[in-house]
């Protein structure tokens, strides 16, 4: 029986992924931290399809794809509206009011998966899934413009087995804007001052010592680790065309099956690799 996620060894296991198609409204209405080049919708869609294709085709996950909702320009970033750990899913209350309705569709799909669902109803709480880093041993929750203390508390209440530490986040939309898990015990971290500072905080707060993989580009530090039974360690990371230096760092991971993924368009609206999927490990029913 896998208790507590079956321990670190089971970290990254996943059977299902929830994704959502991108609405055309994304190009103009999606929230973005800074103005910049317009999103090429067609290209964005292509990249996203590739991404979903990898999850479904290459990794064999059951991908549940929600339809786009034009009234929700940011709906493609499903990660922010649900945090799933083991059998429990916390539906968040996104920091951006315009995104709160994204939760509804997510709720339906998670219910269909028979997960224990917890909803964040406290009106003082905000939490974006992008601020939640689960390491397999504990949670780090970035306190950002999108996530507040109360949101973190509710997350801690939801996942009682784990320590939940808060990490102040500056100069980034989300905690996972500059870091992510690149392996069971490996934190990929960007090189910026903000990223390094956050890493220090995390190291101090943790009873566990993680290895770190420092990449030159903060954005590239957001990668997706999966542990697929037939394939072992799988890492989706940003393509060399986008971040060549960072890609070189990833390429040194010999034990990983590396899958470069381009995410140029969505990045314009602060999208990252982890943003676009909620990974779920649904233990096969006994």
């Amino acid at each position: 029986m896998a208790g507590l996620g079956g321990g670190p060894a089971a970290f990254g296991r996943c059977t299902h992924a929830v994704v959502r198609a991108l609405p055309e409204s994304l190009c103009r209405q999606a929230l973005r931290r800074s103005a910049g080049p317009e999103v090429d919708f067609a290209r964005a869609e292509r990249e996203h399809q590739l991404y979903v294709g990898v999850l479904r085709g290459k990794l064999g996950l059951q991908v549940l794809e929600l339809p786009a909702d034009e009234s929700l320009p940011d709906c493609v970033f499903v990660e922010d509206v649900a945090v799933v750990c083991e059998e429990t899913a916390l539906l968040t209350r996104p920091g951006a009011p315009s995104r709160r309705k994204e939760v509804e569709a997510m709720k339906r799909v998670l219910e269909s998966l028979n997960l224990n669902i917890v909803e964040m109803v406290d009106e003082n709480a905000t939490l974006d899934g992008g601020d939640v880093l689960f390491t397999g041993r504990e949670f780090f929750v970035g306190l950002s413009r999108r996530t507040n203390q109360r949101g973190a508390e509710i997350l801690a209440d939801t996942f009682k087995d784990y320590a939940v530490s808060t990490v102040p986040v500056h100069d980034s939309l989300h905690l996972k804007g500059f870091c992510s898990m690149a392996g069971p015990n490996l934190i990929a971290i960007g090189s910026s001052e903000a990223a390094q500072k956050a890493l220090k905080t995390m190291q101090q707060m943790s009873d566990h010592r993680y290895d770190k993989l420092t990449v030159p580009d903060d954005a590239a530090a957001n990668c997706m680790y999966l542990n697929i039974p037939s394939k072992g360690h799988v890492l989706l990371h940003r393509a060399p065309e986008e971040y060549p230096e960072s890609a070189k760092v990833f390429e040194k991971l010999k034990d990983h099956m590396l899958i470069p993924i381009a995410n140029t368009e969505l990045e314009k609206v602060d999208g990252s690799l982890t943003c676009c999927a909620v990974l779920i490990n649904k233990a096969s029913e006994l």
């Binding site: 059998e87 929750v141 508390e153 087995d161 190291q203 101090q204």
Partner: protein
């Protein structure tokens, strides 16, 4: 007992001779004093008798209470008849009697001796905790050897472990012997106590003892499986005896992870200190304990025996059901299913119908859904043996984030409610459920508490230069102390290879002497590797018990009042003060910085503190009086359990009570004092004194300290110079005024209970290396060294800093420290002189405090060296910088008692040393007695070569119970002495601490 002699001299007094005198003086002086005391004494004693046991808890003088009524009567009856001559012989007699007695005991002692040695070596707390035992249990002869052994063992530490194991095996066998020992101890204690007070009595008592003795108390221990174990314990039994009995009953060998809890109130639980007598720790009468896991092994799979894991499982099930160990629904179900597997075996569809699960409790809020899930999971564990199921249970439970985290309510510096969690790896800070900070042990340089404040000094972060001190506010000082103790214990158990030596002769120290005395995890692991026995059979009982409330009966209702009292005292300062205090401390002690910002000049703060101090002092006094009154009520009533409990538990209360008496006494004496004063400033002094408590010009103050310490210490202080004995703290006494003293870093300890613990990071190297902080350490050391130099400079306030650093660094530095101290003292004294008046006093305190700190740190090691062979007597002399730094040991001819004498001599002594006799102009002796203290003041006026010298010697005998904060009382006494004679300088402080080995009287 603590005897404090404070010698105040205007000019000077002979140095060395005096020291000897002091040690001996106890007898003679008392005799002298007695006549005068006579009128007062009887009353006090009576009251003491009446209160008897209960009184012990409070600040009432232990010796008196201990000595049999008859002996007391004798004292009363023939106070005058006792001449010096009488007293002197008794000492000798004592020795003889001892020797005679010893042969009988020898066989036992030897047996015990071994054990003790072993234990001590194991625990490696030779001094503080171990000492009392030694003195009691070991024959004087063995003593020396034993100590030597200890030292060696200590130094070796890791190497020792093998021995430990062997010992383990022996332990069980030896237990019986141990009990016998204790009996012996009782006798000895009686003797010693008497010694302190009067030699004659001792002789008399010895015959009496043999018939008496065994008084037993029934103990109940709630076991983890919900059953109850009860046994009769000798009243004077130490915690270890009970613990060993329980473990034997449980057939548990890996017992170092466990402990006994008792409840002060329904919510306040304390760990029973194995090294102390139970009755000193638990005041209320039914002795009820719960057997619990104290240190949760991070990796239960490394436990050697299944039975140990079983008990750990039981504990965790309790923790889970009570909600202390939160877990998710899924985890509740999973753990519950393993519990079923362990206790019921494979799921049997026939036998295990639907509700079989409802009998068990798995979670605080158990739902039908959960039970179904449990049942479902139970089916999947088919084939697991109970031991395997337990192991699985533990493998999952250990990953829970709150596994093994001991939570304490607190507030941060901004008054925000937080929780402090102590665990194997360090200290965790939670706000609500969120972890907001974490301080791994390697990162913590010092842990201390003062009043209701708890402080940790943290290594500088990478880019920072200074350590920072972080303060937390706990609900009351008892809570602060409890947290501090838990931290000390956890640090020692999990981080160190072997326990640290407790600060030894602390009298000059501030703060609690408490140290963890058991085995560390490293030691217990090694020991358990050698366990060689077939796996013991044990029955797993049903978990129904889990639903049962395991909390002990609330004890000591009165405690609350006490607590409140103390709390209020502490709160007087207010939150703001707290902050300032923290800052002040940081500044003072560390040159510190709060939150990283270096503050190097504490002076401003100091003054502020000073003011607050006075205020506080006043308030404290009031409170004390009130306290005393309240306490007495119960005692007189001889009310049984609760009342006692309250009184007892509240050490603080007792401590508080103790000081006041002295003051009263002093007032009474005040007039007399006028007699002779030093040429210099006696006048000023007088005024001051009168305001506060009337000046006494007493010559000797003997502070009798507690049983806890079980040692007699004579402290000779120069009033003028300020050696303050701040004492530390042992228990909760909030009595000392000084919070305010935040100003004085040192002073912290004095007032209330203060405790400091500086983790020596001789921890397991591997661990350390693992930690990031390694690098930091290196840096830090360098930093520290620098700091030390700085410290050398003359600022009183900085003194502490050096010491601390040194400690951290290495033991080798001891010598250095000593030197530093001396210098510092000078500075201090200078400062003191400059400031006259109240502020001066306060500052002195501070200064003194600092000094004392130093002493504390340094002293222990020094003392070790100095111990004489047979007799457990230690004398350490720390001379001023002016004088050469010397540490000399002296033997004091008291055989039976465990005695430590620490002398502080100021530079002023020099003159006297050379001294011509001079002409005696006048001499006067005044004695006053209060509940827990006896103050004898001897004033001598001499004319030497045209210079008149007034010498005032005060002997203060503090008698009290384990819980009395002797250190504090001592500090108070010294402080008072100074206050009374501001113009004079303290030339010597001798603290004579005598451990009473047997406390006899009962009720």
């Amino acid at each position: 007992m603590l005897c404090l002699s404070v010698v105040t001299m205007t000019t000077e007094v002979g140095s060395e001779t005096e020291v000897k005198k002091d040690s001996e003086q106890l007898g003679p002086d008392k005799a002298k004093d007695k006549p005068e005391e006579a009128s007062e004494t009887p009353e006090n004693q009576k009251s003491k008798e009446a209160s008897s046991e209960e009184a012990q808890d409070s600040s009432l003088p232990e010796p008196t209470s201990q000595s049999s009524p008859s002996s007391q009567k004798k004292q009363k009856a023939s106070p005058e008849s006792k001449g010096i001559s009488r007293f002197l012989p008794p000492w000798l007699k004592k020795q003889k009697s001892y020797t005679l007695a010893e042969p009988k005991d020898e066989p036992k002692k030897k047996a015990t001796g071994e054990e003790q040695v072993i234990e001590e070596s194991e625990s490696q707390t030779p001094e503080g905790v171990a000492q009392p035992r030694k003195s009691l249990e070991e024959a004087a002869e063995n003593h020396h050897n034993a100590k030597a052994d200890d030292k060696e063992k200590q130094s070796v530490s890791s190497a020792e472990t093998p021995q430990l194991v062997k010992e383990d095996g022996k332990e069980m066998e030896v237990e019986k012997v141990a009990e016998k020992k204790e009996e012996n101890e009782e006798e000895k204690e009686k003797r010693e106590t008497k010694e302190v007070q009067t030699a004659e009595i001792k002789t008399d008592d010895i015959p009496q003892k043999s018939p008496k003795k065994i008084k037993t108390v029934q103990c109940k221990v709630m076991l983890l499986d919900g059953t109850e174990y009860s046994c009769d314990l000798e009243k004077r039994a130490k915690g270890q005896v009970l613990f060993d009995k329980v473990c034997e009953h449980l057939n548990l060998l890996e017992k170092d992870y466990f402990g006994l809890l008792f409840y002060e109130t329904s919510e306040q639980k304390n760990w029973l200190d194995p090294s102390k007598e139970i009755k000193r720790q638990i005041r209320s009468l039914p002795w009820i304990f719960t057997f619990n896991v104290k240190f949760y092994p991070p990796d239960p799979s490394q436990l050697t025996e299944d039975i140990t894991r079983y008990f750990l499982c039981l504990q965790l099930r309790q923790d889970i059901v009570s909600g202390r160990l939160p877990c998710s629904f899924v985890t509740h179900a999973l753990l519950g299913s393993y519990t079923l597997q362990a206790e019921l075996g494979d799921h049997d569809p026939e036998e295990h119908r639907r509700d079989y699960i409802s009998e068990f409790q798995f979670a605080p809020n158990q739902t039908q859904e959960m039970e179904e899930k449990v049942a479902e999971l139970h089916k999947t564990h088919r084939g697991l043996t109970p031991a395997q199921a337990d192991s699985q249970f533990l493998e999952n439970a250990k990953r829970l984030s709150m596994y093994g985290v001991d939570l304490h309510h607190a507030k941060d510096s901004e008054g925000v409610d937080i929780m402090l969690g102590v665990c194997a790896n360090g200290l965790l800070i939670y706000k609500d459920r969120l972890r907001i900070n974490r301080f791994a042990w390697p990162k913590i340089l010092k842990i201390s508490y003062k009043r209701s404040n708890f402080y940790i000094k943290v290594r500088p972060a990478e880019l920072e230069q200074f350590e920072s001190t972080i303060g937390f506010k706990l609900p009351n000082h008892r809570a602060a102390k409890r947290l501090w103790k838990v931290c000390v214990e956890h640090h020692t158990f999990f981080r160190l290879v072997s326990p640290e030596q407790p600060p030894k002769a602390k009298f000059l120290t501030l703060g609690s002497k408490f140290r963890y005395s058991g085995r560390t995890q490293a030691q217990t692991r090694q020991a358990s590797n050698l366990i060689d026995r077939p796996a013991p059979y044990f029955e797993r009982t049903s978990s129904k018990r889990v639903s049962r409330s395991l909390d002990g009966a609330p004890m000591g209702i009165s405690d609350q009042s006490l607590r409140d009292f103390s709390a209020t005292g502490g709160q007087a300062a207010g939150d703001k003060i707290i902050d300032t205090e923290a800052a002040g401390q940081a500044n003072l002690k560390e040159g510190g910085r709060e939150d990283g910002s270096p503050v190097k000049t504490p002076q401003l703060e100091l003054t502020q503190d000073g003011k607050s101090l006075e205020e506080e002092i006043t308030s404290i006094l009031f409170s004390k009086e009130g306290f005393g009154a309240s306490t007495r009520g119960p005692f007189a009533a001889a009310s049984p359990g609760p009342a006692e409990g309250a009184a007892g538990e509240q050490t603080g209360a007792s401590a508080a009570a103790a000081p006041p008496p002295q003051r009263h006494a002093s007032r009474a004496e005040g007039p007399c004092t006028g007699v002779s004063n030093a040429d210099k400033s006696s006048h000023e002094t007088l005024d001051i004194v009168e305001e506060k408590k009337q000046a006494e010009f007493g010559i000797e103050e003997t502070v009798v300290v507690d049983e806890t310490n079980k040692g007699k210490m004579q402290v000779a202080t120069d009033a003028g110079e300020t050696c303050k004995v701040e004492h530390l703290s042992k228990k909760d006494s909030s009595s000392l005024p000084s919070d305010s003293s935040s100003s004085s870093s040192s002073s912290e300890s004095e007032d209330e209970e203060v405790g400091e613990y500086q983790p020596h990071h001789r921890a397991i190297e591997e661990v350390i290396r693992e930690e990031q902080e390694e690098e930091e350490d290196m840096k830090r050391k360098e930093h520290e060294e620098k700091i030390q130099h700085v410290e050398a400079t003359p600022e009183g306030s900085k003194l502490n800093v050096p010491v601390e650093h040194t400690q951290v660094t290495a033991e080798d530095l001891v010598q250095k420290n000593t030197v530093t101290v001396a210098t510092e003292e000078k500075k201090l004294s200078e400062e003191v002189k400059q400031d006259l008046g109240q502020e001066k006093e306060e500052e002195q305190l501070k200064l003194n405090g600092d000094v004392s700190h130093v002493d504390i740190d340094v002293a222990p090691q020094l003392i070790c060296c100095s111990e004489p062979p047979v007799v457990k007597t230690e004398m350490v002399t720390i001379s001023d910088a002016t004088q050469r730094t010397e540490i000399s040991t002296k033997e004091i001819p008291i055989v039976q008692t465990e005695t430590k004498t620490i002398t502080y001599e100021s530079s002023q002594l020099d003159g006297s040393a050379g001294g011509d006799a001079g002409m005696l102009v006048s001499a006067q002796t005044i004695t006053s007695e209060s509940v827990s203290t006896t103050t004898t003041t001897h004033i001598t006026k001499m004319v030497k070569g045209g210079v008149s010298e007034t010498r005032i010697e005060k002997r203060i005998v503090i008698t009290g119970d384990a819980d009395i904060d002797h250190d504090e009382a001592l500090a108070q006494a010294i402080k008072e002495a100074k206050e009374q004679h501001p113009d004079m300088s303290v030339t010597r402080v001798v603290v004579h601490k005598e451990t009473e080995i047997a406390e006899e009287d009962e009720e």
